[in-house]
Symmetry: C2
Subunit: 432 residues, 2 copies
Amino acid sequence: MTNEIHGHPLVATIEAVTIWSVNAYCQTKSLKLTSNLVTRALDGLFVLDLGQIYNGSYCGVLLSYLGAEVVKVESPAGDPTRWRVVGRETHPFVMLNSNKKGVRLDLKTERGKDLFLRLVERADVLVENFAPGTMQRLGLGYPELERVNPRLVYASGKGYGSTGPHRDYPAMDLTIQAMTAVMATTGFDGHPPVKAGIAPADFMGGVHLAASVLAALYQRERTGRGQLVEVSMQDALLPSLTSALGGYFESGGTLPEQTGNRHNGLSVCPYNVYPAKDGWIAILCMTDRHWQALCRLMGRADLADDPELATTPGRCAQMDMIDEVVGDWTRPQTKADLFQLVTGAHIPAAPLVHLTELVADPHLRERGMLRDVDHPTMGRVTVYGNPLRLGDSEPVEPRAAPLHGEHTDEVLREHLGLPDEELRRLHEEGVI
Amino acid sequence: MTNEIHGHPLVATIEAVTIWSVNAYCQTKSLKLTSNLVTRALDGLFVLDLGQIYNGSYCGVLLSYLGAEVVKVESPAGDPTRWRVVGRETHPFVMLNSNKKGVRLDLKTERGKDLFLRLVERADVLVENFAPGTMQRLGLGYPELERVNPRLVYASGKGYGSTGPHRDYPAMDLTIQAMTAVMATTGFDGHPPVKAGIAPADFMGGVHLAASVLAALYQRERTGRGQLVEVSMQDALLPSLTSALGGYFESGGTLPEQTGNRHNGLSVCPYNVYPAKDGWIAILCMTDRHWQALCRLMGRADLADDPELATTPGRCAQMDMIDEVVGDWTRPQTKADLFQLVTGAHIPAAPLVHLTELVADPHLRERGMLRDVDHPTMGRVTVYGNPLRLGDSEPVEPRAAPLHGEHTDEVLREHLGLPDEELRRLHEEGVI
């Protein structure tokens, strides 16, 4: 660490200036902050977030929680997720856009594009997840922006990526789930395919995109240059299918695709969601030790002693019998009692939790992963905390998502120095 | 970028030495590589991967694809996923451990622990996802390792994290799905809960952990210090539930939790998987323009012109009718024809793909996301490529996962300089 500026006058004045001014100052002077000024991983970085719906927006909110200044740039129409409810923001929008500043900017006007390019000059990262070709049609593809700012990390979230025969297919979470066999492998054998209740393609895509940005920022420390990074939602989703693909390859494609609540490769047993008196309980035995402990709880020394059941492959061969035994044992008990009993024996287990319970979950609340903030049109609203916990980084207290264009003037004034008169004119012309 | 060493003799000799020697050299000299030597984001970084099963292993493989030297350290028993099939590695193990070197090391012996600490001294990153308390019991918690190497980024993947009332619960993907309402929100209303066919908690946890590592490495560039980073699988999974949580909050908890293949907040319509003559097709209309285009395809000008159906909330109010109309239109057609027709009109759609089709998917093959490598015990085997595409980074050609302890001698010799005689003794004593 040789190029820090210990004792430089910057240290004394730092608290009087805003983060983005520090960023600008350091970029200008090619200096880095001294370590005692860095309280978060991405302090001083400036991110232009063109993300919309879930994928890009999630990438942006992760970067904001790492300390970056994230400016969400929306068209005059706004993020499609913002307006699905009449008269106020939607919960999904507010949940994925905490901490961001909101800028309304019409990139289809020459003036709007020009202002955007001036922001790009000062930006460290741009995030976008438009349909294929959109940025190119706007004249805002990577080659154009690289010319404006070679230090820019340009992050492109796409459904299928920019190469390969499917690159131009329109893509959303539902279609990626269909195309990546998530639906084919969810649900009970012989029943209709069913999607996951989560949006795994959008969010796997979004967090992989954030990881790519961070890798490129790290590389920039050594090369001095940004780069184009890309994540295909399908690529990002694929590895989470490892159990099903493993089962497919191991069996030569003879296993059923849908395995209900059993392991998707049918290669762990017990592994299921068993009935309880008042709901359901998930129990699984990853190791032979877990199985021995479960047999003790069930009072089934005979099974514990059966050499045919001593190993995972042996138990998998008698899955129906074992699931019946475990289910008969769980059925008359409450899920709370079972949970305490089974986890008390260090066997992985969990009661099946409903949304009503989840939103009040004392654990997620204590960790600050679910928390309430005040929003101007919605009042008190629940948002996510930061899933990336860095021990030596000061936590970011979440700020409610911006209104449409809430910080347009502020950002253009502070980053580009636009005078009030010009801002007024841009508003009149509908550019901002 | 002031502290690079343009023209330094290192440049001339670089190709003759191995990556880890460069790393060691640069650490010793406090130098950075010049930009023309950096071909990948994490070139020269040394990662100790104690990851097991899916979560930690996925984090490690992502770092390997970014150019880091990743050494997977396994106990004499080996990663539980390695041995689920008798006599050879399993497919899941091989799919998640490409590019890594394999070291067998008994951390429960004093000598093994001592060797490990010497590796830690030279490491940039450590990844672990053991059960809560395991590393502490081994005397390898963050405070101990920070003393050995303050530049170390110590990445801890946990089920519920190290704080909060649930912190000590044993956790696996299945239990996190249960505890985070993924099961409660998957499947058809009135039917049993069902888990997702993927392992979203493991993989969301793994990629968030990789993102945390990258953020901490970036912060280290400015502070000179590593830190403890932690990702709870539950925290990482939670945001992907945004549609369901949005629907819950918007409706005051009155929506059904399980919505089959409909949007989990029931706030987009059409949005479903519709029957085709030979399977299923997913179709959704995120915008009013999509709806208008779909009505044209269906020859239903009457619906296109109905002002009550012109907006998303209006269509959601008549979801049953619309799903019936769309289903009646799709039922007599093949999924391939429908796919071409609907995506041709720029409406997001996808045929439901089965595992047999997925493993041969020409798009995933062309992008190199699914690719075949040779493995000593398994022959030709399919593994994942890199979902993190960095435009200016040279791609890593995947190398098959290591055998148990395949590189023990090599790593201990090259990183710690152990002579052959000592290696022989350590083998005899069962330490390695």
